[in-house]
């Protein structure tokens, strides 16, 4: 007993509990990463399709799908829901199966208790079709149709793949036409309308100015007509083929090829095939546009929007933050003023991000943006140009929010430069500015870099203020495109973090969207973690570099 007593007296249990606290924190971080990584990566892995025959008292059904989840439920609950479970069972395992075919059955997912599964197999011929709408289709390929006449061949799958290739290249052409050239014409027409309105507002009397606009408009109209004919022809072309499919339950359906985005047979894939498919899907996820209210497809516009916002923000925040840090460390006499500035910096860092959003909405958008609109864009009123949330204001708001990050980190960089270097430069006759510009700042650049990287990481993950200042769930056009003047800072944009919130919590079909949310979260976590690790490394290297000089 005294052994225990003396152990307790030595304080060792407390030390152990403290050590456990550290372990808990580490485990939390690792667990969280794992929690996101597993389902996130799993989203792209081609899991096998099971054909399941279920048999209960009344009926026998066949279904095919991918197993999404499994859990143990108490037999009691199943009995209450009307299933007859033998008395010997306390709990029953059940599977969540993604059966797809939403257009036929009305639901994507079904829970199947293991109890009623009579037979389970993985037929090689089962096909997954990714479609533009109604989600995935699972079933067998029976044959192909061209212009409504049936052609069935032994090599139907190869033929099907070729025809799919053809439709997808046609689809690319159509979207090029629609988004690229026709979109550009629409954009130019809108600019013409605004130009005309501006002339009207100015009270322009000269009819020639209006005639010129009218002339351009007619020219654009003609161009549009031509493109539209092309578009019609392409639309005709793409509708040529259709696939005849059979579902697991035996229903036959005809699916036009132009609605099919991708087709594959996961049950025939080996390991390498699966890996290849995994990378292909991951890539598509990054470069494609979202479909079906963001619950399917890729997240390209969200990545693009995030990157644009972060870049624009860096342009604002870096000079400002560096200047403030230089003032604090190099120019100001340490005293009350610098203390107040430090308090201000700390406050900027501590103010809740939503308050920045409120400030951005009120001050930047309604006050500044509203005035800008009245002064420079009266022709577009009453629809606001800068008087509504957009890329520009979002960047500015986040620049304010990340300012302390840059200041603190630049200051640290400056503090590590030994006095001797500044004194050497000044002693050689350089002015303060020359010392700063040619010796101090270049040496402090890793510190500045660290600050920028941390600011970018912070901004990429911030959501609350963005919800108020210009992020939307689906932006019709990108903030940087091929239409003059190319960069459109007034446009609304999509953002990775907001995408997670929106799809995970606001979408009508949360269950179907969940894998996509995990994948998006995984991407966001990877980006922030990588950025932070880079920043930490840069900073450590900086510390190492000046360690010798400090004494």
């Amino acid at each position: 007993m005294s052994k225990v007593n003396s152990w307790i007296k030595s304080g060792a249990p407390w030390v152990w509990l403290n050590a456990a606290a550290v372990s808990c924190c580490i485990l939390l971080v690792l667990g969280l990463m794992l929690m996101i990584a597993v389902p996130g990566f799993g989203h792209f892995w081609p899991s096998k399709i099971h054909e399941i025959v279920t048999q209960d008292d009344q009926s026998r059904t066949v279904l095919a799908g991918q197993i999404q989840d499994r859990e143990e439920v108490s037999a009691q609950r199943l009995r209450e829901s009307g299933l007859s479970v033998p008395e010997s069972y306390d709990s029953v395992r059940r599977y969540l199966i993604k059966v797809g075919n939403r257009d036929l059955s009305g639901q994507d997912f079904v829970w199947v208790p293991e109890l009623i599964i009579a037979q389970r197999s993985q037929p090689l011929a089962l096909v997954v079709l990714e479609r533009e709408e109604w989600g995935n289709f699972y079933g067998y390929l029976l044959g192909l149709k061209e212009d409504n006449s049936l052609i069935t061949m032994a090599t139907a799958w190869e033929d099907f793949e070729q025809r799919l290739e053809r439709t997808s290249s046609l689809r690319d052409q159509i979207s090029d036409l629609e988004k690229g050239r026709i979109g550009s014409i629409n954009y130019r027409l809108e600019r013409l309308r605004l130009r005309e309105r501006r002339l009207e507002l100015k009270g322009e009397q000269d009819p020639r100015a209006f005639a010129e606009i009218e002339e351009e408009r007619v020219a654009l109209g003609e161009e549009y007509e031509l493109l539209e004919q092309d578009l019609l022809a392409l639309n005709e072309e793409i509708r040529r083929d259709a696939a005849l499919m059979r579902t697991a339950s035996g229903e036959e359906v005809e699916i036009p090829l132009y609605t099919i985005l991708d087709a594959f047979k996961p049950n025939t894939m080996g390991l390498w095939g699966s890996v290849g498919h995994f990378f292909k899907k991951s890539w598509q996820f990054i470069v494609e546009d979202p479909r079906e209210a963001n619950t399917e497809g890729g997240i390209f516009p969200a990545i693009y929007g995030t990157v644009m916002m972060v870049l624009l923000m860096s342009v604002f925040v870096t000079p400002f933050g560096v200047v403030a840090a230089v003032y604090l460390k190099e120019y100001a006499r340490q005293g009350l003023l610098t203390r107040i500035i430090r308090v201000a910096v700390n406050n900027l860092a501590g103010v809740p991000s939503i308050v920045y959003g409120v400030f951005g909405l009120g001050f930047f958008i309604y006050t500044l943006g509203g005035s800008l609109d009245r002064l420079f864009f009266p022709e577009a009123l009453p629809s606001p140009t800068f008087g509504t949330g957009g890329l520009f204001w979002a960047s500015l708001t986040l620049a304010l929010l990340t300012l302390p990050v840059v200041i603190v980190s630049t200051e640290e960089g400056l503090a590590r430069i030994p006095r001797t270097i500044r004194e050497g430069s000044l002693a050689l006759g350089a002015t303060r500015w020359e010392t700063l510009w040619r010796t101090v700042l270049p040496m402090a650049s890793p510190g500045i870099m660290t600050g920028m990287i941390l600011a970018v990481a912070r901004a990429a993950g911030e959501v609350a203020p963005l919800m108020l200042v210009g992020v939307v769930k689906l932006a019709p056009s990108l903030p940087l495109d091929g239409n003059y003047p190319f960069l459109h800072p007034e446009r609304k944009f999509m953002h990775l973090g907001f995408h997670i919130y929106d799809v995970g919590f606001q979408s009508p079909n949360v269950e179907a969207a969940r894998p996509l949310v995990y994948a998006t979260a995984l991407l966001l976590v990877c980006v922030t973690v990588l950025l932070n690790l880079t920043a930490i490394r840069v900073r450590n290297r900086l510390r190492e570099k000046y360690r010798g000089l400090e004494t």
């Binding site: 225990v4 030595s10 060792a12 249990p13 030390v15 152990w16 509990l17 403290n18 050590a19 456990a20 606290a21 550290v22 372990s23 924190c25 939390l28 971080v29 969280l32 929690m35 200047v323 403030a324 003032y327 308090v343 201000a344 700390n346 406050n347 900027l348 860092a349 501590g350 103010v351 809740p352 991000s353 308050v355 400030f359 909405l361 009120g362 001050f363 304010l400 300012l403 050689l428 006759g429 002015t431 500015w433 020359e434 700063l436 010796t439 941390l454 990481a457 912070r458 993950g461 959501v463 609350a464 108020l468 973090g497 997670i500 919130y501 919590f505 949310v517 979260a521 966001l524 930490i536």
Partner: protein, 749 residues
Amino acid sequence: MSAFPRSEGLAGSGRSERFHRWRKLLDSITRRLISVGGISVIVAVVLILFYLVYVVFPLFLPATSEYESLGHNPAWQNTEPLYVGVEEQIEVGFSIGRNGRIGFFDIDGLAQIEMTQLEPPGGELQAVAEAIQDPGAVAVMDVSGNVLLLQHRYETSFADGVENRRVIPSIEYPYGAQWRALSNGQAARLLAYSEDDTRLVLASAGASSLFVELSSKQQNFLTGEFSLDSRSMQREIDPGITALAISGNGRWLYATNTDGQVLVYSLNDLSLLQTVKVSGEPITEASMLLGGISLLAGDSEGLVSQLFPVRDENNQTTLQLIRQFEGLGGAVRHIKPEYRRKGFAAVDEIGNLALFHTTAGQMVLNEALPAGTPAALAFAPRANGLISLYKGGEAALMRLENEHPEVSISSLWRKVWYENYSEPEFVWQSSAATNEFEPKFSLTPLAFGTLKAALFAMLFAVPLSLMGAAYTAYFMAPSLRELVKPTIEIMAALPTVILGFLAGLWFAPFIEDNLAAVVSMLLVLPVGLLLFAYWWSHYTGPFKSWVREGWEPALLLPVIVALVYLSLLLAEPLQVVFFGGDMRTWLSQEMGVSYDQRNALVVGFAMGFAVIPTIFSMAEDAVFGVPKSLSDGSLALGATTWQTLVRVILPTASPAIFSALMIGLGRAVGETMIVLMATGNTPVMDWSIFEGMRTLAANIAVEMPESEVDSSHYRILFLAALVLFLFTFVVNTGAEIIRQRLRERYSSL
């Protein structure tokens, strides 16, 4: 040296002179620019603060008014005006005179636009009543109780372009131009009128009788016209009735009398349901408030009382006195409700005008009318003007600037008795579908939710982070510390949207299914850890040398995982033994605790996760920064390492640890995404760990995008932001000052 600018030679040529001057100039310009840049950080903070204050400030401004005499209209000279109405733009007014002349006039100059002579069967008109549900619908009664229903309507024409807007008024008689005999030809004094989509109620009072006509409205499908299916009632009453009003739901008729009472009659059979004593003085005027729920009654001393029906525990509805408004001096002559808000204007017989708001329970304006008590008074539909007509043909307009009457300190922070509520409560409910909705802007439940969420987060984060920080700084091997610190930094950098999403979509359902596991974990984890530690301290086997001193956390990683797994296994038997099979059922049935899936436990855990790294790294720096000489001295005197930590190191670092806690609290209070996603966002006030909350920050995120610019709602959301700003300002400034002090103290050690 590359740092030195290349110069053209040191000979005193003019070029070199100019170059040196240029260098000097550049130096002084940049110095100024950089100073400006440094100071602009302060400017940014001050700008945010001032902008928030600037938006919030108008909430607390009193109403202002501007009195304008409109002149004199000769057409009204020989009669007393009984009623006045005005349209939306305050350009055209409508008046009814005692002599039966009705018509529109121009507000600007009082020129008569149109005039109609009514032919009341009883000769002169006696009273006019307006339907609260429809500002343009008016009932006119003559001295012998004949009633005519009419509507004054306004259309705005833009036929001559947007700038030349014209208001076109018209009078309609929706039920024909016949007079309806309400009192069978007996003399009648008072009139009340209520009309909605399905029914129409008229009530009048003579010397000792009450007359009521109840009609249901039927619309002709072909012509769209309405016809009335009417039924009349009558009863004897005591004399001394001073005003009548009809409840908006058409169930009750309120009458006030000279004994200071409100009498409630059922509109089914005119039986007297209730008598409420409101005042010791005679009641002189009464009116319904917008929505038809509250009755306003003013007495001869100028006191205005608000009453509305309240449902008690037995589901019995009784009319109750809710609050009273003081401010007028003489007998109340007019009570006019606003058409779009729960405010009203009252005028007494000595010519004082006061504007009140019922929800806020406050008077927003009190002024003497220069021309005395008017004969007829009306609000403009937007409540931005009051028009008054006087006996003898004079008219006046009072333009009002009264944007936010519904906001007062008491309506924001104290319990308020809202309409349809059985007692005063804290409620946040900012908007609803109908116009007649009473907005409930109590910030208290939101502030409560904010503190509750922050508290639970701190409860989880503080022990973990402080203990972890102390260990990392004082006991941990340097090489492990170099791994732990970046990990914690990564933890700080994780976007909160990810934490919120995991908490809401994965953790909340997980906890719901495994509630018992959480309970068992609280027990199993510490006990198991201590047992393991004891065993390991006395273990002398071959693995002992694998774990060097300061690497214990690495050793504990698998132990904790195993213990967590054990608690998951233990959960099921625990439930069976202690909680009757299922803990959640047990909670709701035995303890009466309701369980939300997204509750304070989930938020505390998720937000704790976000707060841990903040506290951890600051506290770790603080402990690490304590001069080594202090701990060396303590150890040399024979104290154990633990004693040294608790008695020497922690007290020295305590100010900095305190400031770390403050900053962590500030972060928890302002965090938005986690609470937005991991709580149900219902503004309830309950400390239960199993219920959700709505925080100030989440509330802003949810409601800000939909609020109308410069409305009260918008400004109150800014106020919420200002509260958050000030809270974190105080916390951060305090923490920073403590840190600066501490830094000075250390530098002297």
